[in-house]
């Protein structure tokens, strides 16, 4: 299945990946090849087959609602590329 350049650009935006025009074209061609291969799944009869999302047969695991120790603020910020007043710092989110 051949993807269009617009579709690839749309997916890149959904994934928050900034790609060059050259990279988008390479991605378009490689993803189209992979999707052609994956199309093999369309020939499988899956009528009435339940989906498998995980294989453990475990159901949602609960723990007692008790306060436990976590990372300190210092630890949580130790790897931050930018911080101010004990918080992660980023550029403006909205256009001025």
């Amino acid at each position: 299945m051949a993807l269009s350049s617009q579709e690839v650009a749309h997916v890149a935006r959904l994934a928050r990946l900034r790609l060059s025009a050259e990279e988008l074209e390479r991605m378009r061609s490689q993803l189209s090849n992979i999707l052609d291969y994956i199309a093999m799944l369309q020939e499988v009869n899956v009528d009435g087959v339940p989906p498998t999302a995980q294989v453990t047969d475990l159901v949602t695991v609960m723990r007692p609602d008790e306060v436990t120790t976590g990372l300190t603020r210092e630890q949580a910020l130790a790897n931050a590329p930018d911080q101010r007043e004990g918080m992660f710092r980023v550029k403006p989110v909205f256009d001025a």
């Binding site: 992979i34 291969y37 999302a53």
Partner: protein
């Protein structure tokens, strides 16, 4: 290779317990070996020599009669597993310089047992790859032939053992990333049942598929390590609340009456004749040991690869959404927050990771979810049922691990589908969640071949007993590269 020090965990453990050498001496010996051959192999991303020697001396000082068999034994850890205070990059530029503030559960358990970590091992970026060539830092070379890849994604974990730089290591396996490199480097490797080993502190790739497991020369060594790292962990909701057996006690050397199934679909078109021959000889050896060998069929096998390449990238695209250069990792400069996030992700993820994020995002996007993701989950059910039906007839399945021996560096890097096909015999097992053991079973064109044994969920004892019985009867696991 000079062998003036023990090269297996069992031998090291026995020598340490008998007081024939200290952990500090053993650690120094491995660090010297690293100094000698690491410039050729490049299995490591970080070598923690000082820390290792300090831990080794501590292990010597705290040794007791009832110490763990891993007490004082050096090993090394794949760089997708968090280590408190030691850089953990996942082979990615997006985590350059990242130092975790906590240990993964497996690291805690190894340290509590007194094991000595030598450092962190190279891998494909975020464990996505089959050759360790997608690491952002450097490639790792196969100790049997430095012109060839060690396999992947846990290429560093396999190469470090094959090169004699550590008697054992930890890797991870999402679609074959322990078993394929174990086969290509001529060592043993175990992917435990999904849920057997805690994933807490493992950087997530495909959360319904990922498992941590050990590499070593022998199945007996894998049993020692699994006994330490396995078990329920309240911090991983998918870890199984099932008691951990004494894996060493399972190594009886006896497999008479074991029912071994050989799935015909695993001898795929394009498989190298030398690989098929070595695999069939190994199956014949199991028969000689008293196993009943029968042919079985897993009819949905050919759909495992396309199923995997929807499910794994879909899970990866969600898991890797967290890398935005806001809370950790370097940040690429831009005008706005979104500029910086998109530039950081666009530039610092490598080509294979970007490709899989795109594929997964597409498969999960509006309008395609039912056609791709839901259908793949349904086919996953059929693949799992194939295994359940086979295990109603047999105890163990025996198959090739990879269709080829180690390939040349660069040979498949620009052809994603060719690279994905190298895992055609290993990924069905992750989709079904079964445990699987690889043991060296011969050579083709001078390069190692591995036999893959697959078991029922939580039947690691059966796999390890079978692998150990095979290794008592053969000597492939004693061959060492002329490095």
């Amino acid at each position: 290779m000079t062998e003036r020090y023990p090269t297996t965990v069992a031998a090291a453990s026995a020598a340490l317990a008998a007081g024939e050498l200290s952990s500090a001496e053993l650690t120094e010996a491995y660090l010297s070996r690293i100094e000698a051959v690491e410039p050729t192999v490049r299995a490591f991303l970080t070598i923690t020599a000082e820390r290792a020697l300090e831990r080794a001396r501590r292990a010597d000082a705290t040794r007791r009669a009832d110490s763990s068999p891993l007490h004082g034994v050096p090993l090394a850890i794949k760089d997708v597993i968090c280590t408190n205070g030691v850089p953990t990059t996942c082979g990615s530029a997006i985590l350059e310089g990242f130092v975790p503030p906590y240990d993964a559960t497996v690291v805690e358990r190894l340290e509590a047992a007194g094991a000595v970590s030598l450092g962190k091992l190279n891998c494909d970026e975020f464990a996505m790859g089959s050759s360790t060539e997608t690491s952002a830092y450097h490639i790792t070379r196969n100790p049997w032939d430095p012109e060839r890849v060690p396999g992947g994604s846990s290429g560093g974990s396999a190469a470090v053992v094959a090169a004699g730089m550590a008697p054992a290591s930890l890797g991870t396996d999402t679609g074959g990333s322990i078993r394929q490199p174990a086969a290509l480097c001529g060592v043993s490797g175990l992917k435990p049942t999904y849920g057997r080993v805690s994933r807490y502190g493992l950087v997530a790739f495909g959360s319904s598929l990922d498992q941590i497991g050990p590499f070593a020369w022998t199945a007996a060594d894998l049993a020692l390590i699994l006994g330490v790292i396995a078990g329920h962990d309240p911090r991983d909701g998918t870890s199984a609340p099932i008691p951990v057996p004494d894996y060493r006690a399972a190594l009886t050397g006896e497999i008479r009456g074991l029912r071994v199934g050989v799935p015909r679909e695993y001898f795929v078109e394009g498989m190298e004749p030398g690989v098929e021959a070595a695999t069939r000889e190994a199956i014949a050896a199991l028969k000689d040991l008293g196993a009943d060998v029968v042919e079985v069929s897993l009819p949905h096998t050919k759909y495992a690869l396309p199923t995997y390449y929807i499910i794994a990238p879909a899970e990866a695209s969600a898991n890797l959404a967290r890398y935005d250069g806001v809370r950790y990792g370097p940040r690429e400069p831009g005008e706005t927050m979104w500029d910086e996030i998109e530039l950081t992700r666009g530039r610092r993820f490598g080509a294979e990771v970007r490709r899989r994020i795109m594929l997964g995002t597409y498969a999960l996007s509006a309008g395609y979810y039912d056609a791709y993701y839901k259908r793949a989950q349904q086919v996953r059910t059929l693949i799992k049922r194939d295994f359940e039906e086979a295990f109603a007839q047999v105890d163990v399945l025996a198959t090739p691990t990879s269709p080829t021996v180690a390939f040349k560096i660069g040979q498949k890097l620009d052809d994603p589908l060719a690279m994905y096909l190298t895992d055609v015999c290993t990924l069905p097992i992750n989709l079904a969640g079964m445990p699987s053991l690889v043991v060296p079973c011969g050579f083709s064109e001078g390069l190692p071949v591995g036999l893959q044994l697959i078991g029922r969920p939580f039947a690691e004892e059966t796999l390890l007993r079978t692998g150990d019985a095979y290794q008592r009867a053969t000597d492939w696991h004693t061959r060492r590269p002329a490095l």
